[in-house]
Symmetry: C2
Subunit: 139 residues, 2 copies
């Protein structure tokens, strides 16, 4: 586990098995996946100048890995900001709730897998950065 300077952001190294049949990367609950996902989503075909994300979650944990190509994951806990280069399925980033996240600089072949601790709920999204800052001040 590699901790970043930010509260609630941890970079995990996932095991990879490489042989003549290709590469297999895996994660399972507690090793190092910090939750059993109830939801997943896959992002692809992102134009080079597009920015995705730009929100935080109130309760949902996420685990982000770039399974093809590369992108930049920017994380912001309301106090400070960090940019994590993702270019390998062996890197998984655990985002606790209340981390403002953007995905950008996607390569043409970038495919991003996000595992989520909770089912989709629109009320769980924090889409106003000022609100995240107010919530952060209160902790």
């Amino acid at each position: 586990v590699h901790a970043t300077a930010l509260r609630g952001v941890r970079v995990h190294q996932l095991p990879a098995f490489r042989d003549a049949r290709g590469t297999l990367t895996c994660g399972q609950v507690n090793s190092p996946l910090p939750f059993a996902p109830l939801r997943y989503f896959v992002i692809a075909n992102v134009p080079a100048d597009a920015v995705r994300g730009r929100h935080a979650h109130r309760r949902c944990h996420q685990f982000v890995t770039c399974v093809s190509g590369s992108c930049t994951l920017t994380v912001d806990d309301g106090l400070s900001r960090d940019a994590i280069a993702l270019h390998d399925s062996t890197t998984g980033v655990h985002l606790e709730p209340r981390v403002w996240t953007t995905i950008e600089n996607c390569s043409p072949d970038a495919v991003i897998l996000v595992l989520c601790s909770d089912a989709y709920q629109v009320e769980d999204y924090i889409t106003d950065y000022a609100e995240l800052q107010r919530l952060t001040d209160g902790t």
Copy 2:
């Protein structure tokens, strides 16, 4: 849900959201993911002539989707066999236990995501096709 001719194999269509920022495909428990995964793995860099899988599981359910490129998923319940072409993250295949599975014909950019209902257990693997046939006869 598209049922194949085989016991224990169901092909699901996943929702996709496409806009100027790219494509997002998602699945969550019961919609249509049939279980909360305790494990996931990602396969990539598979040579065109390589064959992966070639086993079944005793208890573990799997949900297979090809999130980049294309491949052929061959499924066999011990009685009959079917080949499913995967080339889109919007197709997810639910494999119940006791389905012999192979992955082949991978394109150079193929990335295959597999969500598993159970944690890894070596005893859960059926690696002898004759054993699968014996188990199938018994049901």
